[in-house]
Amino acid sequence: MEPIQKHQGLVYPINRANIDTDQIIPKQFLKRIERKGFGQFLFYHWRFDDQGNKKFDFSLNHSIYNNASILLAGENFGCGSSREHAPWALLDYGFRVIIAPSFADIFYNNALKNGIIPIQLKMAQLDQWMDQAERKKLTLTVDLVNQYIIDEDQQKVYFDIPSYHKEKLINGWDEIALTLQHQEKIDAYEKNNV
């Protein structure tokens, strides 16, 4: 997993609640056996019509959002099926940060495990940026180390993230390697219980 301490990027706003993992990556694209290459299918049914042509009424297809890497979304982002293909698709497309008022539990964890920063902000704080990003290019800087987001007008908003998640993201640590440091405890548990 790639370490991430600070990220500056263009914002793409999608003001909808309950965006589920099937909308993020429809099930017909789950058949690959690799982790890469899912970006092309991101939000597929919103981005493309039945013939595979780009739909221009969906704003992600507008050129001003080319290279967007910060996603602003509505409540309960990533609900539905537990597929990790959802964060894989977001990451592969280029998103490193997702900001929403709330996330579905499994998605939140899946995002962290792939080096995406999920940031929970109150709707009231999000609204203004959502609004700006819908009208023009908006760049935000996310400082994970100091836990704030700052916009071009120097408006700063602090956010919470559990420290152990932060540590892993900043260092890009492999979680399994960390766990296997507790090997002896796992052995002992098995001896007594299994």
Binding site: S82, T179, I186, E190
Partner: protein, 452 residues
């Protein structure tokens, strides 16, 4: 005396391998179920890092998500084929038991776990599928995980988890006749909303829950996910113990008796405190139909779609109605049906098929309707055929298929053409785009619609 505990606390405490203040706990996992769609990248990760599967004996694999449900031999999509071959190879390489497409134990992962007795009270159970919550019906702590976590469990047989908050959903009273478990869980979600369980593990309690059979309890726990919770469970009782007697992976004789005692002791103690409790009266619940694009958008079958002037989230409701091709205030019974699907891990067990067959018997599927039944497992299918249930369905004009997820996920060939209405009897999931684009799906429990 010890402080009274909920079953959730008891299972949690017993599985902690490592605990550090302010961090998630490292939990031991007793059973890891694996299927072809969410596992290939996990095995690939192991291989890249030169790691082994720590406990192949606590891991069990099957093929369900994209197996064909007719003409097994013909897998039209080469990528599906590759996914299944990959699972086969991985299981061979790492020594994991696999019920492949032709195996008599094959079926939807959440149907076969209980059927084989792999699912037992007090276990921690995970699988790379959100509906793993189904196994909670047995008083197990069971939840869905992502592929990185699948890899983590394969390598270490543990998971880092934050202690969840506990939510008691208490169902008092008795369900009316003809009202099923599916109606109850839909009514709970409609009443409290699709997010009310977020951040919690739900325990379902109360008289109406106690009165449910094991298969009905599985339907309830299965849909905890649709209520936003990661897991839902029911304290074990005699119904649980009776169900498990004689199942293949359950010990027999004295060992069973000792185990059964432990299971009984797991039940939530009198006076245990939950972080939150909600109650619903079973008598309030009527047969439900969803009209919209999430499972909370549901009304009694006698009702109608919402009145736009009276709803809170008007935009969402409007979008859902437009997507489904419905009008506001439209009577549910006026909806036209093109497809009927009976199946999925919510309701494809023997008792579900028996109930459906009882209603179908002697009737005929409308000529304009395509109707299919997909049993949850090979064993359910065999049992149903022994009872002549397949004949009832076939005579009524249904297709009788092999076991798998089928239209629930529609990764195999069981897809529906756009712009038609599908009636999903006895199954859950329905969100925008979940099946095919522009397929209109109603999840219902009853057959009134079919009979019009």
């Amino acid at each position: 005396m010890n402080k009274p505990k909920t079953i959730i606390q008891k299972i949690w405490d017993k599985h902690i391998v490592h605990h550090e203040e302010g961090k998630p706990d490292l939990l031991y996992i007793d059973l890891h179920l694996v299927h072809e769609v969410t596992s290939p990248q996990a095995f690939e990760g192991l291989r890249m890092n030169n790691r082994k599967v720590r406990r192949p004996d606590l891991t069990y694999a099957t093929m369900d998500h994209n197996v064909p449900t007719k003409n097994r031999e013909v897998i039209k999509d080469p990528i599906s084929q590759k996914q299944m071959e990959t699972l086969q190879k991985n299981c061979e390489e790492y020594g994991i038991t696999l019920a492949d497409m032709y195996h008599p134990d094959q079926g939807i992962v959440h149907v076969i776990g209980p059927q084989l007795g792999l699912t037992q009270p007090g276990k921690t159970i995970v699988c790379g599928d959100s509906h793993t919550s189904t196994h909670g019906a047995f008083g197990a702590l069971a939840f869905g995980i992502g592929t990185s976590e699948v890899e983590h469990v394969l390598a270490s047989q543990t998971l880092w988890q934050e202690r969840p908050k506990t939510l008691n959903v208490q169902v008092d009273g008795e369900l009316g006749s003809g009202v099923t478990a599916k109606d109850l869980i839909l009514a709970i979600i409609a009443k409290f909303g699709v997010r009310f369980g977020t951040g919690y593990v739900i325990e379902y309690t109360g008289k109406a829950i106690r009165n449910l059979s094991m298969e009905e309890r599985m339907t309830i726990c299965n849909m905890s996910i649709e209520a936003g919770a990661r897991a839902g469970l029911i304290s074990p009782d005699e119904t649980t113990v009776d169900y498990l007697i004689g199942k293949r992976y359950v010990p027999i004789g004295e060992e069973f008796e000792t185990l059964a005692e432990e299971w009984r002791a797991l039940a939530t103690d009198e006076g245990a405190v939950y972080d939150k409790t909600v109650t619903i009266q079973a008598e309030e619940v009527e047969p439900q139909v969803t009209w919209g694009t999430n499972p909370g958008m549901c009304v009694p079958v006698s009702g109608m779609t919402p009145d736009l002037s009276k709803v809170d989230q008007k935009e969402d409701v409007e979008r859902a109605l437009a997507y489904m091709g419905l009008n506001e205030k439209q009577p549910i019974t006026s909806i036209e049906i093109d497809h009927v699907f009976i199946g999925s891990c919510t309701n494809s067990r023997l008792s579900d098929l028996q109930k459906a067959a009882f209603i179908v018997k002697g009737k005929e599927v409308n000529k304009n309707v395509r109707a299919i039944v997909v049993p949850g497992s090979f064993s359910v299918k065999m049992q149903a055929e022994k009872e002549g249930i397949d004949t009832i369905f076939k005579e009524a004009g249904f297709e009788w298929r092999d076991a798998g997820c089928s239209m629930c996920l529609a990764m195999n060939d069981d897809v529906v053409p756009p712009e038609v209405g599908v009636l999903l009897l006895q199954i859950e999931i329905l969100k925008e785009g979940k099946e095919m684009e522009h397929v209109h799906i109603w999840l219902v429990q009853r057959w009134q619609l079919l009979q019009q």
